[in-house]
């Protein structure tokens, strides 16, 4: 690799936290952001608990954007614009003045909303099985916020123009691995000398009707039978039964070490390794023996020029689904062998839900703060593992620890995996 890659800024909005430090503090105090979503519950969505962002917060972000002359934007775009601006401010960098820069912003496809579905359904003729589009178009004449208007790359388009990213602009949509892939791809461009600076991150707002329904039907969401919302997601625990959804966005400002040092920037941490790959196994599951997860983890460690003995902590994908946590546990055991019991493992998803694309970026941001504060975050709701997860050293309370290198996993539907290695600034 031509360059070391440093993190000089972090921006984040997630659940009820408006910054990365605020979220870190909340999780270290075992505060969950998972709440019942009354709007979804009123629509009849039975498992309506999720880590959503309040409509008032989104409305305030919308007002800010309108005041800046932006058009009406979708929720993921609003979150991304907020978090990206925070990362840039945190890095204290004049992005526009930099020539060799890139933007890597992960986001999955935005969904049809409940109101749109209902709107179309009103013009559906069950006898023909067709919707009368002309009538719908007439009725929706003044509707400005339609599907096409919610392009997946809308946030990237706005940020690219605002900060003059005139060349490399990418919007990864690799399902749950997308956030890790956005961070890792930016890292790769700088490490190979193609860019000096990369704004990397992800955004997602899936706590709405259609994603909740479709993941519920698939059996991926945890059933919710009277449990307290904050207790539902329990990664690696024997009672785990599915994930809860989350909203959020996080960005990191990455620079080559040389570039950051030249401008006197404060270095928060390093991105030192990355791997991404497909499994070609099955579309909804990974090999039970953890071999493909382990392969990706091993390749990322090798990319960082490290050995497994150098890894001090794992920020797990840890979705709280039976299958993921079993496979991930098998992968950790396969790769780390006897060291498994001594490597602390944290999943953030019981505190903040699974925000699909955004999760990888949010977890990278939290990992960088863990490295800065030398503090391991707890996995909320973990009590006891089962046969598969037993032996995994799940962190149950905030724990000071000497941490130099963190391995952060993001594994996606469709068999697409990414792993980041994040490292501390040398003392």
């Amino acid at each position: 690799m031509a360059n070391k890659v440093v993190v000089t800024g972090i921006g984040l909005i997630c659940g009820q936290a408006m910054s990365a430090n605020e979220l870190f503090e909340r999780i270290s105090q075992c505060q969950s952001s998972v709440r019942k979503n009354e709007k979804l519950a009123a629509y009849g969505v039975t498992n309506s608990a999720c880590s959503f962002i309040d409509e008032q917060v989104l409305a305030a972000l919308d007002v800010q954007c309108r005041e800046q002359g932006l058009p009406q934007l979708s929720a993921p775009a609003l979150l991304a614009i907020y978090a990206a601006a925070q990362a840039i401010e945190n890095a204290d960098i004049d992005v526009k003045s930099i020539e060799r820069k890139g933007l890597f912003l992960a986001c999955n496809k935005q969904s049809l909303e409940a109101e749109h579905l209902l709107g179309l359904a009103k013009h559906f003729d069950p006898t023909t099985g067709k919707v009368d589009l002309d009538m719908f178009m007439e009725m929706q004449r003044h509707e400005k916020q339609s599907y096409f208007h919610k392009r997946q790359d809308m946030a990237a388009l706005v940020l690219a123009e605002r900060y003059e990213f005139d060349d490399v602009v990418m919007t990864p949509g690799d399902a749950c691995a997308a956030g890790g892939i956005a961070v890792g791809t930016g890292y790769r461009y700088i490490a190979q000398g193609e860019l000096d600076v990369a704004l990397v991150g992800a955004t997602e707002a899936m706590c709405n009707y259609m994603p909740m329904l479709s993941f519920s039907i698939l059996g991926a969401l945890a059933p919710q039978s009277g449990e307290h919302p904050a207790s539902i997601s329990c990664p690696f625990d024997k009672a785990r039964s599915g994930f809860v959804m989350g909203d959020g966005s996080a960005f990191l400002m990455l620079e080559s070490e040389q570039h950051a040092q030249a401008r006197g920037a404060k270095i928060l941490g390093y991105v030192s390794g990355f791997a991404k790959q497909t499994e070609s196994w099955r579309i909804t599951s990974s090999p039970k023996d953890g071999s493909d997860y382990a392969r990706c983890m091993s390749d990322a460690i090798a990319d960082a020029g490290l050995s497994i003995n150098d890894i001090d902590h794992i920020n797990a994908h840890g979705t709280s689904t039976e299958q993921n946590d079993s496979c991930e546990s098998a992968a950790i055991k396969k790769l780390f062998g006897e060291r498994t019991v001594s490597i602390p493992v944290t999943s953030n998803k019981s505190a903040i839900g699974h925000s699909l694309a955004a999760s990888g970026a949010i977890e990278a941001a939290l990992s960088i703060i863990s490295l800065q504060q030398q503090l391991l975050l707890p996995t909320l709701n973990f009590c006891e593992g089962d046969e598969d997860t037993a032996g995994i050293n799940v962190v149950q309370q905030a724990t000071p620890s000497k941490i130099k290198h963190i391995l952060s996993n993001s594994f996606g539907f469709g068999g697409e995996n990414s792993v980041l290695i994040l490292s501390a600034v040398a003392e």
Binding site: K109, F148, D167
Partner: protein, 426 residues
Amino acid sequence: MANASTDIFITGTGCLLPGCNNPADLWQRLLEKKCATVPYTSEDITTQIISWFGHISPDQAATALAAVPFKLRRYATPASQWGIKATVDALTNAQLDLACIAPERIGLFTAQGDYSYPSLPSFTAGVGKAIEQNNLNLPALTNEFLNNRGMDAFLSIKGLSNNSLAIASLAFGTRGDCGAYVQNKSATIAALRSAVMSLRYGYSDVALVICTGTYNEALTLTELYQQNLLSPAKQGAASQRPFDQQADGSILGEGAIALILETRAHAQKRNVAGLAKIDGIGNKTAFLTVDQHNNYHHCAQKLLQKAGLELDSVDAIVATGAGGKKADQQEVVQLEQLLNGKDIPVTCASAITGNLPACPLDMLTALQMLQHQKIPAIANLTNPIGHQLHLVQKESLTQPVQRVLTLNRCYTGFNSAVVLSSPSYQ
């Protein structure tokens, strides 16, 4: 690890486009100026307003479905199925047997321009039941969806941005570097960039780039219509008139294009000449200032500068020609600024298939031009709006074509440029 200056070649192409089962079909239609758009039909939509479309025909769709392994079919969107068919053909075109390459060394990069999931057809069972029971409201619909199999059980898989990638990785057994992107040409450019990066720095030996998508979805059609971007298509297939004074909007379409990319060294080792070298990829975003007249040509200028190329070395340009009066006038102005009086022929292919999301029709056209040393005339162009431009009109030009600049301009202000040249061109 490969040298950073490694040339990247396109060694194979395949496509499934309106009226075109392969690139040769497209070339024939381009030469004959024979448009493939047809009256709009849909199993899910009744409309008089949307009257014309570049459809993948039922026969084409059946062929594509047959190319997808049986056990994957229920998870694959139609667009993903088209992508598999295009990739099978691209591999044949590249004379590449993937079984000869370690699965971990095959990169896979997809661009989905796919608005079609989730959409109403995924919910028709539940919606129909609710209407039947005279109980069309969200709680009733939710009950039908969750408890009475009223929606597509695999919607979350079909609706994800990496559906094409997931299906392709399983169909072709790829286990290497990867990237899934969604949204028109920005996805195509990102997939291409990722593939080039992967090959250039040795993360892959071969890269499959699969671009596929459709505009055929109720809300998408509605919004594009309401933005006055669509042609009323009163003259049928002749209604998409790129750069013509009578242009009155776009005809939309659907399809898939696949490209096989390799380093020069890898292609030479296989004794494959390659179809073209990728000289450079550029883009510039003008989402908020989409109507300003400088982003498109600045994008091209910057790319040429970065690639160390002179505009004089470009033999032809494949432009967008979306068919909208305002959009095409803006494009012509920017082309005139870029060319500044230089006599470089400009063509485009959009009238043949309609505007396609994510598919690099311009690149596929450029590859054919390099292969056949011809520049096709623009279909449906009778009264050009740019008199300073050399818009290729009426007859194809037969002349040396060693380097082609392809330019694209999306509805939302994403401008992109790709330069392709003959493999032997220096």
